[in-house]
Structures are given as C-alpha cells and as structure tokens.
C-alpha cells in the first residue's frame, strides 16, 4: 500500500473531507493517464463540494475543461 493510499484510508476513516480533497488532488497529479487523473480529480471535487471548500470552483472548472463535468445550473427558488 502506498503512503497516499494509507493516508486516504485514514482520512476516510476520520471523515476528514478536506484531507480527502487534498489527497485525491495529489493522487490526480501523480496519475499516469488522463482517465486516472479525472477519477481522482472527481473525488477531490466531490469532497471539496461537500465541505464547501474554497477550492471547489477551481476543481470543478478543471473537470469542465477536461469535458468531464457540467457548469452548475442557476439557484432554485423555494417551492411555496
């Protein structure tokens, strides 16, 4: 098991979304193929999105640029 895998498992076990975002982003940088990079980048984005992290928009844009995500739809008003 690589050190990044071990760190990811620990972050998952701790429910540490910010750590997961950083570790998956790091894994994306180290990936050898564009598919593998997009896989890890997707995870980084999801955990950033969940945490409301400031990096979420940039991660989102990288996925859009890679043709792997959609732009967000406009906000929805409440159903009254």
């Amino acid at each position: 098991m690589s050190s990044i895998d071990a760190a990811l498992l620990a972050a998952h076990a701790a429910g540490d979304g910010t750590a997961m975002m950083r570790l998956y982003a790091k894994a994306a940088e180290a990936a050898k193929t564009s598919d593998a990079a997009a896989f890890y980048l997707t995870h980084a984005y999801v955990f950033a999105l969940e945490a409301g992290h400031a990096d979420a928009p940039a991660l989102h844009q990288r996925l859009i640029d890679a043709g792997r995500e959609h732009p967000a739809a406009p906000p929805r008003p409440p159903k009254r």
Binding site: S34, D35, A36, A37, A38, F39, L41, T42, H43, Y45, V46, A48, L49, E50, A51, G52, H53, A56, L63, R68, E69, H70, A72, A73, P75, R76, P77, P78, K79, R80
Partner: protein, 392 residues
C-alpha cells in the same frame, strides 16, 4: 357501489344532532391511511418550526407519516423542505441533524445536491472519471421539494401540492392575528419540549379547541380564568379554538414581566387566543409570548406533540422564561389522561362517536365536520377516478 370505509353522515349534521367521528377514525389502519392523504397530505400540515434550523446549512431529517423529509435552511437563509432521498437509488441522504457546509453528498454513490435542491455532481455516472452522461439530465433530477410555507415560524407543508396557496387558505386567520405577524424569538433550549401521547392526533386537537373542560381538568387555571371568561373562535373549514378575556401575565418576585409585542391593540392587554390551524397545528397568542404545538402522528394511536415557546425579544429573563415553560408543560400534561382516556374509549364497540354540547363544543364539532368534509371530498374524487365505479 363500494361500501364507504366509515359512515360520516351523522358527523356532518348540525351540532345539536351530530355525532363525533366513528371509532375507526381513531383505531383503524385503513382509515388512518385515508386520513393521511385527505386530511394531512392534501392540506397545509405543520411539520416543525424554523427555529429547529436556525443557521444557514442546518439540516434536520424528519419522518412525517413515514415519509422521510429533510428540513433545511438554504444558503440564502430560506427554510425549505425536501424528500430526504437521493434521486439515484432512493438512499436516505441525511440520517441525523447536522450542518451542510457545502453540498449534501449521498453516502452511497456520492451524488451531490446544493441546499436549494439542485443536483450538482454525479461522479462517474458516465464511467470512471466521466461525471456526465446524456441520459442524466441534472435539471430534472434535483431533490424533490415539498411545497412549504412559513407563518409565525411554523413550517407548513402541502405534500400533494394541490392545496390553495397558504396565504389564501388562511387569509382570515393571518388577518385576525396580523398584530403577531412580526419577528418571534424562540426562547431556546428551555422553551421547547415534546409530549408523547398514546392517542390519535385528532383527540389532541379536539381537546385543545374547547374551553368546556378547563374547570375540570385545569383547576388552577380556573382560579382566575373561569369558564364564562372564554369565547369560541369558529371559522368553518379553516380553524377553530377558544379565547379568554382574562389572561394574566407571569411575574417575577420583583414584578418583572416579559416584554410585550409592539403595537398590540388594547384588547390584548388581557385577552389571549388558542386556535387550531387545521389540521395539526395548535397555536396560542398572548401579549408577551406565543406558542406553537405541532402534532406529529405516529400511527392511529400515537402522537408526538412538539411544543415551542416564543417571545417578543431575543433576550428574556432566564428564570421567568423557564417558569413559563414549566407552567405550560404542567397544563399540557394535565390533558394527557384525557386524550389517552378518549383513545381507550374508542375501542368500545358500538360507541357512536359521542354527542356534543350544542353550546360548549362548537369549535370541536367544527373540526370533526372539517375532517369529515375532507374525507368526503377525497372519497368522491376517488370514486370519480375509479373506472369500475364510474361505469356503475
């Protein structure tokens, strides 16, 4: 012609001739399911209060008549209600109260939703690392939002989406209490409590609506607020309850009282009113505080009463506020043996639903009549939709 589930004809008679709802409306699972649709899902039913999700991102999972719901305060600060399930595999999204920092992530395959319900991420939906697919239109797959309306901090929901707008349905009540339609400050942790009662939710309404029982069940209240000091409040088809002309403010040893709501008519110096907003919200207003009781049915014979007290100011004296909570807790607890006793009474075979005092039980009869009218409408709509019946 199909047999009706219960005979409502006697319920809809004038009060002097009417009977109450038949036993089955308190004990029978089939009737309970029928009322769930006709009396609760098709109306504006109370779900909770906004103070339960005070801050942006606060999310509270609730089960309302077995339906998993999520009440949350979105990023714009607006309270909204969604079905608490992912549009992918129907997984429960939030299983305990918590703050949504960014998005709601489904714990199963990590589809993510914004706090306004938009589906914002569908990871790997088109294969590993491909998060879009032409067959998945996110605009059509947001969280299923339940129509909601917030009035006097109570969160009302219309699950079927078919009720008239809340402000139309309850225009006269909103006008009646317009003086109280201003910022209400929840008293906090010591101003909320629940009562679990072994009775059908309607019995709590029926007891709340009338003042007839006060001298017998609440003797302490009767020492200053006598039966003749009360009046009926009756708005057929919408709400009913009772008022008193002799409300007496709670005072500390040094004479301190709660601050009044601003701009009240002089009537409210001593008046107080207690109204059921049909179907399941019990409200009380006084010059210096209000309360809301949301009745959540948990089956034909079990109800949880969620009680919240509100004040005219954010800060109120702690000891006085706690005394007020204790005082109301005592009053509401005094009613428990009554509603549970009536529930047990509904297992007496042949009980005809009882008779009403033509003078004292008007607000309660009005509620029975409303329930019966909703059921009749539901049954006639069902019959019209049933091709087999239509052919008869």
């Amino acid at each position: 012609m199909p047999h009706p589930v219960s005979d409502l004809s006697k319920v809809r008679q004038p009060i002097a001739q009417a009977n109450g709802l038949p036993n089955a409306h308190y004990t029978d699972a089939t009737v309970f399911a029928e009322e769930r649709q006709a009396v609760l899902f098709d109306q504006w039913a109370g779900l909770g209060v906004g103070a339960e999700v005070p801050d942006i991102g606060d999310a509270l999972p609730l089960t309302f008549l077995e339906m998993p719901l999520l009440m949350l305060r979105d990023k714009q600060g607006q309270v909204r209600v969604f079905q608490n399930i992912c549009r992918h595999r129907g997984m429960i999204l939030v299983d305990a109260p918590r703050k949504i920092e960014g998005a709601i992530r489904c714990p199963y395959h990590s589809w993510c939703y914004a706090t306004d319900g938009r589906l914002v991420s569908t990871p790997h939906v088109g294969g590993p690392g491909q998060n879009t697919h032409e067959g998945i239109d996110r605009d059509l797959l947001g969280l299923i939002e339940v129509r909601s309306h917030i009035w006097m901090d109570v969160v009302y929901i219309n699950i079927s989406g078919t009720a008239p707008p809340f402000e139309n349905a309850h225009a006269d009540l909103m006008a009646r209490w317009a003086e109280f339609d201003k910022p209400l400050f929840h008293g906090g942790a010591d101003s909320r409590f629940t009562l679990e009662v072994n009775c059908n939710w309607k019995l709590a309404v029926e007891n709340y609506c009338e003042s007839y029982h006060l001298p017998w069940v609440h003797p302490a209240l009767n020492t200053y607020s006598r039966l003749e000091d009360h009046y009926h409040i009756e708005a057929a088809g919408r709400f009913s309850g009772q008022g008193t002309w002799v409300y007496r403010q709670l005072k500390d040893e040094d004479g301190t009282v709660f601050p009044d709501f601003e701009g009240l008519d002089a009537k409210w110096d001593t008046a107080a009113e207690y109204i059921t907003v049909y179907p399941n919200v019990l409200l009380g207003v006084h010059r210096d505080h209000t309360f809301a009781i949301v009745l959540v049915p948990h089956g034909p014979d079990r109800t949880v009463e969620h009680i919240h007290l509100y004040y005219a100011a954010e800060k109120t004296p702690d000891a006085l506020r706690q005394r007020n909570t204790e005082q109301w807790k005592e009053v509401f607890a005094e009613d428990v043996f009554v509603v549970e006793g009536m529930q047990r009474g509904r297992h007496a075979a042949g009980f005809d639903g009882g008779r009403f005092s033509p003078v004292m039980d008007g607000p309660t009869h009005m509620f029975h009549d409303w329930v019966a009218s909703r059921l009749e409408q539901h049954r006639s709509a069902g019959a019209a939709d049933d091709p087999a019946h239509a052919a008869e």
